[in-house]
């Protein structure tokens, strides 16, 4: 129902559905918006809980450059991004 309204009104999905926005720059930087919180944080894996799913960022030497309620930036050597 909500999806249909959003599609008909052509609203941005991240606003209407609360969909996660993942912006990847090269393989060293990922910006994640619209999430609920962190489930796991190690230098090899960061798991972020979003409204519909979990986003796993895998890699080496991962670190969170900044972390606020709206946005986080992950830097490091990124190898995989998994939605589950």
């Amino acid at each position: 129902m909500r999806r249909e309204i959003a599609e008909n009104l052509k609203l941005p999905k991240d606003l209407a559905l609360g969909a996660v926005t993942v912006t990847v720059s090269g393989r060293s930087e990922v910006t994640v918006e619209n999430y609920k919180g962190i489930l796991e944080y190690t230098s090899k894996k960061i798991v972020v809980q979003t409204k519909g799913c979990q986003v796993d960022v895998l890699g080496e030497d991962l670190l969170i450059s900044y972390y606020t309620a709206d946005e986080m930036k992950i830097s490091g050597q990124i190898s995989e991004i998994i939605y589950c």
């Binding site: 609920k36 919180g37 962190i38 489930l39 796991e40 944080y41 190690t42 230098s43 991962l62 670190l63 969170i64 450059s65 900044y66 972390y67 606020t68 309620a69």
Partner: protein, 409 residues
């Protein structure tokens, strides 16, 4: 950049958290709008930066998540002041000096004028002074465009002016129109072209006026070459009157000049002893303070002067300058040129003389100058046949011929 500056102003800490539920701790922080940056997992711990304000809001979160927080470092202005709280005067003087330097940047401490050929910098400076543009004035009161147009208005031969403020320096770039200067200032009114040297005319081009001599004529210094008076004739060829103007033309005259230069082999040279004296004059806001101004006790000495304005970076001139005079003692010592040296020196002197002539537009046609090494002196003598431009403006000569017909009737 501004974010980092604000963090520095407010102060921030580098902390380590040791928690059984680190993710919960991070989520709670995010929920309470606590900004974290530089978050690094370090084995079982996590390390991060946080503002001091946010750090004091952690108490509740720490209690909920049973976290142990260790402060590893503290940075920023509040900690800087705390560190130096026992040295208040030191901190205050740093702040005062920053404020003082900032105040200095609001004024003009240097007026630089470039590109002048005919005009002198003093002329432009005194004009600027009349226009209330002076050393030490507020930068905000300088209207560069007005300065440009004022200078152009006052000096018509200046065709382009660029005024710009660079730091505390008012840079005025000027381009003069040299051609129009000649036409406007020198070629008005009436004048004859008279010879300024004696010799034989070898070439002649008359632009305005009546030629009074021809190629091959012998002319004397002061003789009229081109008259500014032109005859007006009627159809029958009778002179009816004269038009007076400014005679103009190029006349080249060939002449012979003698050159003689002699110098003895024995001569005096300066030998510097290692003794030096310094005079230092400090100038603050155009007021002079003489430091170390003792007169040297040397009989003979040379003075080198260095005058410098203190500049921070490229164009931040300060109202502080100094003049350093170095006085070096010397003695005269008698030496003798070898014949080879004397010949070289004579050659050098003669070359300088001919270079000078060339600069004046003189062409050397024949050269019979010889160097003779005599017993006690070196003599360079001989004659040079030269061709040189002759002709300078002089007041119109009085009419010698019969008065014009109109006047007689």
């Amino acid at each position: 950049m501004s974010g980092r500056f604000i963090r520095f102003l407010k102060g921030y800490v580098y902390i380590r958290i040791d928690s059984p539920l680190p993710e919960r701790f991070l989520n709670l922080c995010a929920f309470h709008q606590i900004l974290m940056w530089g978050l690094v997992p370090n084995g079982d711990f996590y390390e991060m930066y946080m503002s001091v304000q946010d750090f004091f809001r952690l108490r509740e979160i720490v209690r909920k998540t049973k976290t142990k927080v260790t402060v590893l470092g503290h940075y920023g202005m509040p900690f800087f002041f705390q560190k130096y709280r026992s040295r208040k005067i030191f901190v205050i003087s740093i702040l005062v000096s920053f404020a003082f330097i900032y105040c200095l940047t609001l004024f003009i401490w240097q007026i630089q004028i470039t590109g002048l050929i005919r005009h002198k910098p003093e002329e432009i400076l005194s004009f600027l002074q009349e226009e209330e543009i002076r050393y030490g004035m507020r930068k905000s009161k300088v209207d560069c465009e007005a300065v440009e147009s004022d200078i152009r208005e006052r000096f018509p031969d200046i065709v382009w002016v660029g005024a710009s403020l660079e730091g505390t320096n008012l840079h005025i770039q000027i381009k003069e129109n040299v051609d129009s200067y000649d036409a406007q200032t020198e070629k008005e009114g009436t004048a004859d072209l008279v010879a300024d040297v004696s010799g034989t005319v070898v070439s002649m081009v008359t632009r305005t006026g009546t030629p009074m001599v021809a190629v091959g004529d012998q002319v004397e210094k002061g003789q009229v070459l081109v008259s500014g008076r032109e005859e007006r004739k009627d159809d029958a060829g009778t002179v009816t009157g004269y038009a007076e103007g400014y005679a103009d033309g190029d006349v080249t005259v060939q002449t012979v000049i003698n050159y003689r230069d002699a110098f003895p082999y024995v001569h005096k040279v300066k030998v510097y002893s290692k003794k030096k004296r310094y005079h230092l004059t400090l100038r603050l806001f155009q007021k002079e303070f003489a430091l170390f101004n003792k007169k040297p006790k040397f009989a003979l000495y040379d003075t080198d002067t260095v005058d410098r304005t203190i500049v921070l970076g490229k164009s931040f001139y300060l109202p502080i300058s100094y003049e350093l005079k170095t006085m070096r003692e010397y003695f005269h010592e008698t030496r003798q040129y070898s014949k080879e040296e004397a010949k070289q020196l004579a050659n050098q002197k003669f070359r300088a003389f001919t270079e000078d002539l060339k600069k004046k537009g003189v062409e050397i046609i024949e050269n019979s100058v010889k160097i003779v090494l005599k017993e006690k002196e070196c003599v360079t003598s001989g004659s040079l046949v030269i061709q040189q431009p002759a002709g300078k403006a002089a007041p119109l000569s009085p009419l010698e011929t019969n008065p014009p017909l109109e006047a007689s009737e």
